[in-house]
């Protein structure tokens, strides 16, 4: 390697955080607001029948347009496709923090829906996790029509 200039590391001396607020669009707004009455909406494609959760108005499989009347109500129940026990957590500046109590994340397919949801799992010990087990939504006590209304999924 030819002449290697010494390097200087540069860090921001003051906190510097860029904030974002993404507009969600009509379909997603309906999905979020309906969480208040503890309901999960999906969008069923009128052409190929694929059910998207959260809902949207363009089918990714057959490109058909999905209208608001194609919204369907899904039960909060589903099956656990896959799971992982997290022993670390990634903080906002990109450092891995060891977790004193491991957390569980699941890949869940809701009844008669096709999308996979990636959600935290609660009230379960890692060793009891089994693929295919039945799970359901655990709602926040006071649901306010926000994504945080879904606390996590629990075994039924």
């Amino acid at each position: 390697m030819s002449s290697q200039s010494e390097i200087v590391l540069t860090r921001a001396p003051v906190p510097l955080v860029f904030g974002f607020r993404w507009s969600v669009g009509r379909m997603m707004e309906k999905f979020i607001k309906t969480l208040a009455d503890r309901k999960i909406l999906g969008a069923k494609c009128p052409e190929c029948g694929y059910v998207y959760v959260p809902p949207r108005w363009r089918c990714g499989k057959c490109y058909a347009r999905i209208a608001e009347e194609n919204l369907i109500e899904l039960s909060g129940k589903g099956t656990l496709l896959s799971y992982t026990t997290a022993y670390v957590e990634l903080d906002a500046v990109g450092n891995f923090k060891d977790l004193d109590k491991p957390k569980v994340i699941g890949a869940i397919k809701l009844e008669n829906a096709d999308s996979t949801l990636f959600m935290p799992l609660g009230e379960i010990k890692p060793e009891d996790l089994k693929e295919g087990m039945k799970v359901e939504v655990a709602w926040r006590e006071k649901t306010k029509g926000e994504l945080a209304d879904i606390k996590y999924f629990v075994p039924t």
Binding site: S5, A86, I105, A107, T116, F118
Partner: protein, 381 residues
């Protein structure tokens, strides 16, 4: 392909953790190295395609300050914002179109600038997955690994065997970042557990590194070198988003490989390709890659690794250079795979040269759970 295009020169950096070199110097070294290896100068280059991303380089318009270092001053330059193999793919298109004859392709990432796993969390759907916070490329890969291992009854030892193979191979490659000559399954399975079953040694390291290639059309290639490496086939594909795609299969890699095989006239990859360099960001992914490339039937990736068929001395050597588990400078990883296959064909892979290689396959990927894949088929004279 109307026109034939060949790789005529290449260079890569010594990938390592937290390289003590500025980004500009690192880019300059590999660009200069590739031109020197090809025996041409900057004046001969028609177009320069670079690959880096704004989030990973910590700079919006990440190629703004490296244009001079890469040698693109007053040249037709563009930047691909993903894995370097896609930059080689774009340079190939520019030459095939007949508008350009010689292209310099460069790709780099310094993983020490921003943690790439944090940036992977920024690629998920901001309206949903990102609001629940804990989805990044490792936790998603863990869910993929669990689903794949359960479906085809793959053991953690079999997955760890991939790491053992690649980390031992990397020990013979001076450019690799993580070189562990006497690694064992026990060592791999006792390494730090991040998201079960993904461990420190079954996922790629965060490396700083860069790579550059020189591509040339047939006439120019024959002038430049008597040992050109021809690009005989290419295929690329992007899968659906994480929520609406098969997680236990790499469908997009299957499609990309089919296109590349078709273009290169390959009907039996197992028999017709002598060496494979694949971008396995996670050990279990290499098994899924075997299946998507058609080297074995679905779920049989474990058999190939168990029988040692993909070892350096096996029937179908995969990653003699150590692969991404050996070094993962994110945007450069795919380009390094192409370079390593070219070295094998030219017989310049000293330390891990596979005997008489005529045809090779290089694979690059980008995105969570290998959502996006690209395959190159390379051949000697």
């Amino acid at each position: 392909m109307a026109r034939r295009v060949a790789i005529v020169g290449y260079a890569q950096s010594y990938h390592q953790h937290d390289m003590q070199m500025t980004r500009e110097d690192m880019v300059f070294e590999v660009a200069k190295g590739a031109l020197r290896n090809a025996g041409i100068s900057r004046e001969d280059v028609d177009t320069v395609i670079t690959a880096s991303t704004d989030f990973l380089d910590g700079r919006t318009i990440s190629n703004l300050y490296t244009s001079m270092a890469v040698g693109a001053y007053l040249k037709d330059e563009s930047k691909v914002e993903e894995d370097g193999a896609f930059a080689a793919y774009y340079a190939l298109m520019r030459i095939l179109s007949g508008v350009h004859d010689i292209a310099l392709v460069e790709a780099h990432t310094q993983g020490s600038v921003v943690n790439p796993h944090l940036v992977s969390n920024y690629t998920v759907d901001p309206l949903f997955e990102r609001q629940y916070g804990d989805l990044n490329d490792i936790s998603a890969a863990a869910l993929q690994a669990r689903m794949y291992m359960n479906k085809y009854d793959v053991s953690e030892e079999q997955v760890a065997t991939v790491s053992v193979k690649n980390l031992a191979n990397a020990a013979c490659n001076p450019h690799a970042h993580r070189r562990m000559p006497d690694v064992s399954i026990e060592v791999v399975l006792s390494s730090k557990l991040y998201y079960d079953p993904i461990r420190e040694l079954t996922m790629s390291p965060i490396s700083d590194g860069a790579c550059a290639l020189v591509l040339a059309c047939e006439e120019k290639a024959k002038e430049i070198t008597d040992n050109p490496v021809w690009i005989e086939g290419v295929g690329s594909c992007q899968d659906g988003y994480l929520r609406d795609r098969n997680l236990d299969k790499l469908d997009s890699l299957q499609i990309a490989a089919k296109d590349a095989y078709e273009m290169a006239g390959i009907t039996a990859p197992f028999a017709q390709i002598d060496v494979f360099e694949v971008s396995e960001k996670f050990a279990h992914e290499e098994l899924m890659i075997y299946e998507a490339l058609g080297l074995c039937r679905e779920g049989k990736g474990k058999t190939l690794i168990e029988k040692g068929m993909t070892e350096k001395d096996g029937e179908i050597p995969v990653n003699p250079s150590g692969g991404a588990l050996g070094a993962d400078p994110i945007c450069a990883t795919g380009l390094v795979r192409i370079m390593e296959t070219a070295k094998q064909i030219r017989g310049e892979a000293n330390g891990y040269q596979i005997p008489n290689v005529h045809r090779a396959l290089a694979h690059g990927q980008f995105g969570i759970c290998a959502q996006k894949n690209i395959v190159f088929i390379l051949g000697g004279e």
